[in-house]
Homo-oligomer: 361 residues x 2
């Protein structure tokens, strides 16, 4: 087992990464304060892993909520339903919520924990690659609004993250690939050596070699933990983690949540960011080509879906949370391993990149 | 004008208290970061004060939301409606919400600000005595659940509190009296001199003498600001501010929100807390009598409504947020000016106090 710590003073917490961690009471119990725990999972993950998790909660008063699968569940109504269950079971302020599932389950559960009684504890037990390397770490919680992704939420740090890479055995190929988009992202924004490691190990990751997966999860979490510790509330460098996300959210919203997976949209978004960076003279053409090649090897899209017009994409980007004083800010690349947040991009270059992306490469 | 500061490091903020402050751009504008502001008010306060406030926002993109009056509005659905409006107007993360109204408007607006895009700025412009002395200061925001008051919420500090005591001119007598319950509370929990000042000035306050009101608001806010600065998240002494509130919330929930005003329920709750403290030998009978006498002079109830049975009250108290590891904790009095939070009360004494309160004094 590998253990990292997200350093946030009194609210610091461990990330445990390894095989067979899901039922280990010794990891979970010391992070719980009260005697009541609610496990939130979904109809896909629950049947696979709930029985493995429950022994870690033996002796507590345990409630279980099983949500429908998919991004469409990530609404304020779902959170209200969880709160109804907490109220019905009379869960007290020292209770804990345990998120067993992917990013959607984690975001919903964390947000319910953030607002129930003005904040109760929660633990992340991520079962997808995307959740293990990204969404379970850092305290961003929330749900979607019909007009924009993650527009309702809170910063609320978990008490622990327990990433059992054995759960990736049952992950569909498409979701494994989508998770790799966020893994590649860490290399792009701040860890060139990791990007190069990924260039060497992509096929091993796709073949689910356990050592490769554990290494990728650990290096991703280490990058994320460092960024979060330095900038919990996204005042500065944390925004770099959104590389590809402004484009990606526009794609997800435009297609309707869940048509493309989040990681797929982010992969296409990172390619658009790379092309815009190249067109502005910031990024070398060879670097842009390496980025597209690695994402293509991961089986990820490198362009937005043709049914979304450039005008529609640009419109959807305007509701992004990074808009400040009316100006859209984007994360762009100076090199592989070096990203910047900027409002100082060329609107004409952006249009040209969105137009060009419609044509077959 | 009197100005206090709530000391919370980078998130410190001013409380301005005085007459004619509501339209002063010099107080409001330096606290706003972006160019978009949404004023949230209700159908009673809006017609009286919105026109006075708007000049302070001149030059900004301003949206206005007018809610129905009353505690029944304080729901997650209302917050969702405000977020719909923010999304429709494409308000960015650097926007601000301005709460113009009483505690209900402030709690709703603050919570909407807490969860919109994971937190945007808000300013409190309280127009009731209750809001000026209590709910606008300290960052507790939230809404009610059908099964319990304030069960959904967040800690989210305002950027400023602008308490214009001129707005109290239009406050109904009943609401003025309800606000005085929280004023008396500060004397009871930590400021004996203030309690004695109130014994001398209660009639002046009921007659709305401006100097008396400003003094009462300032001394109340000073007490609250000190408590909040020492314990923002209610890990310790902040819980003392809940004197009378566990009983009071049970009364409000039992009758249905809005039947009794919050302050009325708290007044009855403080009397119950005083009687329980007396029965346990903690509080002198003369002190208990002085408390009841002062609240009675303020025209406030000193016992719960007869239609709520002791058993029903006790049941409703069990869902209080202060329950820890299954044990109810109560704020009780050692003396006028000295309160303690304790789970160490006598359940039989509590029953006896609830029973005795049903009989005419």
């Amino acid at each position: 087992m590998r253990t990292l710590t997200v350093e946030l003073g009194e609210r610091s917490y461990p990330i445990h990464i390894g095989t067979g961690l899901i039922g280990r009471a010794d990891l979970l119990r010391p992070r719980l304060r009260g005697t009541q725990a609610m496990v939130v999972t979904n109809e896909v993950v629950g049947p696979l892993y709930l029985e493995r998790l429950l022994p870690a909660l033996e002796g507590l008063e345990v409630e279980t909520v099983v949500l429908p699968d998919g991004e469409a569940t990530k609404t304020l109504e779902t959170v209200a339903g969880i709160i109804d269950r907490l109220m019905a079971a009379r869960f007290a302020r020292d209770c804990a919520l345990v998120a067993l599932g992917g990013g959607v389950v984690g975001d919903i559960t964390g947000f319910a924990a953030a607002i129930y009684q003005r904040g109760v504890d929660f633990v992340q037990v991520p079962t997808t690659l995307l959740a293990q390397v990204d969404s379970s770490v850092g305290g961003k919680t929330g749900v979607n609004h019909p007009a924009g992704k993650n527009m309702i939420g809170a910063f609320h740090q978990p008490r622990a993250v327990i990433a059992d890479v054995a759960t990736l055995d049952t992950l569909p190929d498409r979701e494994l690939r989508a998770g790799l988009a966020e893994v590649v992202k860490y290399g792009l924004i701040r860890d060139r050596a990791f990007f190069e490691w990924l260039e060497g190990r992509m096929e091993a990751l796709l073949a689910r070699e356990p050592d490769a997966l554990a290494e990728a999860v650990e290096r991703s979490c280490r990058n994320k933990a460092e960024v979060v510790a330095a900038d919990e509330r996204e005042a500065g460098q944390r925004a770099l983690l959104n590389l590809g996300h402004t484009f990606g959210h526009a794609i997800e919203t435009g297609l309707g949540y869940g048509t493309w997976l989040h990681g797929e949209a982010v992969a296409a978004g990172m390619c658009l960011a790379a092309r815009l960076s190249e067109r502005m003279g910031w990024l070398a053409p060879e670097a842009r080509a390496r980025i597209e090649a690695l994402l293509a090897r991961a089986g990820l899209p490198t362009a937005p879906p043709p049914e979304l017009s450039p005008a529609r994409l640009r419109e959807l980007m305007a509701v992004d949370k990074k808009v400040q004083r009316g100006r859209l800010r984007l994360v762009l690349l100076r090199a592989i391993g070096e990203a910047v947040v900027t409002a100082d991009f060329d609107e004409a270059a952006l249009s040209a990149v969105l137009e060009a992306a419609r044509e077959p490469a």
